[in-house]
């Protein structure tokens, strides 16, 4: 059999979801496809680039609802869709976060956030900082969730419904910190806030 780039990514996604990131090796993937591991290097120059393609595919397959009108609803929607996309695959958060940290992925969510924050009226010099802070929160939170999820799934019985996922609560925290800095007519006033340092 002869494969294309997308076949390899598809199968990699299957191995990831079934066996986890630790077992997603070039050799294992080669075996799964019935080809030599060296053949994979025809499609991807390095494993890191293969994983970046897998991360992109995870994001592409995630939900993409309509963009809400309010800037802060749009920020929340982007973060929630990013979370849902990563939760759909085992170790999805780690794959996407790693790809992002190498500057190879998650450009779309970042750009979405930057756009929404700028439109919201956040001071321009804070926009990239706020966007990255949101991404750090989402990656960190969902990685934790996924780690504890699989740790829990070993112990059979407790299908614990998650500590009522405090994702929304944490996101609300960061979002309110951003709202404090936005001069809008809809609500929060900045009064006694004093900068750290």
């Amino acid at each position: 059999m002869r494969y294309h780039r997308e076949d390899v990514v598809e199968r990699a996604l299957g191995v990831l979801d079934t066996y986890g990131l630790a077992d997603l090796t070039m050799r294992r993937l080669g075996t799964e496809l019935g080809i030599q591991p060296s053949a994979l290097y025809h499609h991807f120059a390095t494993k890191q680039l293969l994983l970046a393609a897998v991360a992109d595919e995870i994001l592409a397959r995630g939900p993409h609802g309509p963009r809400p009108a309010r800037w802060d609803d749009r920020v929340a929607a982007t973060c929630e869709e990013l979370r849902d996309a990563m939760l759909a695959y085992r170790d999805g958060a780690e794959v996407v976060a790693t790809s992002y940290s190498f500057g190879l992925g998650a450009a779309a969510p970042y750009d979405d956030l930057v756009g929404a924050l700028a439109e919201g009226g956040l001071p321009a010099d804070l926009v990239p900082t706020a966007a990255r802070t949101l991404l750090h929160f989402v990656f960190g939170h969902v990685s934790d969730e996924q780690t504890h999820l699989q740790a829990g799934s070993a112990g059979a019985i407790d299908d614990d419904p998650l500590p009522a996922s405090d994702f929304a609560a944490g996101l609300g925290l960061v979002l309110d910190g951003i709202r404090v800095r936005v001069a809008d007519r809809s609500g929060i006033e900045k009064r006694g806030a004093r900068p750290v340092t």
Copy 2:
């Protein structure tokens, strides 16, 4: 030569800082100490536990200034000291963040944050969420910083003074989100804030 646990950690810290996390292997560390890699398993049951001990040591060697009186200054101080501790060793953020994600490290900063936030009057159900959100921010931010730092250090000339480290700005964002939820007499009032979702 015969070594103790702490000698191994000390040398591991040296290898980490000089060659980076990717080169901190059990075999490499054994060679560096002049012993067989298998001898390391007398001191640590797994590599993961060795790295947890390294993470603990990185945190223990970090700065520990006096605890400020105000709860929010204490939160900021904990985050800044955590950052400084991790920046002091190459790949320090990744080592500490990984150890934390396995539930093996960073308990002290977490407890500090929980203490300060509770004293500040943050609603009890938000305290763990806020503490974890702060840690996610710090780990994510400093990991980014360190990655781009070593990426930059390859290109010799530009000792770029960092994009004026927006750590304080990001921390201020999250902290203000927390302040919004604290009923204190010193400043911010919650008015139009509406929860996400």
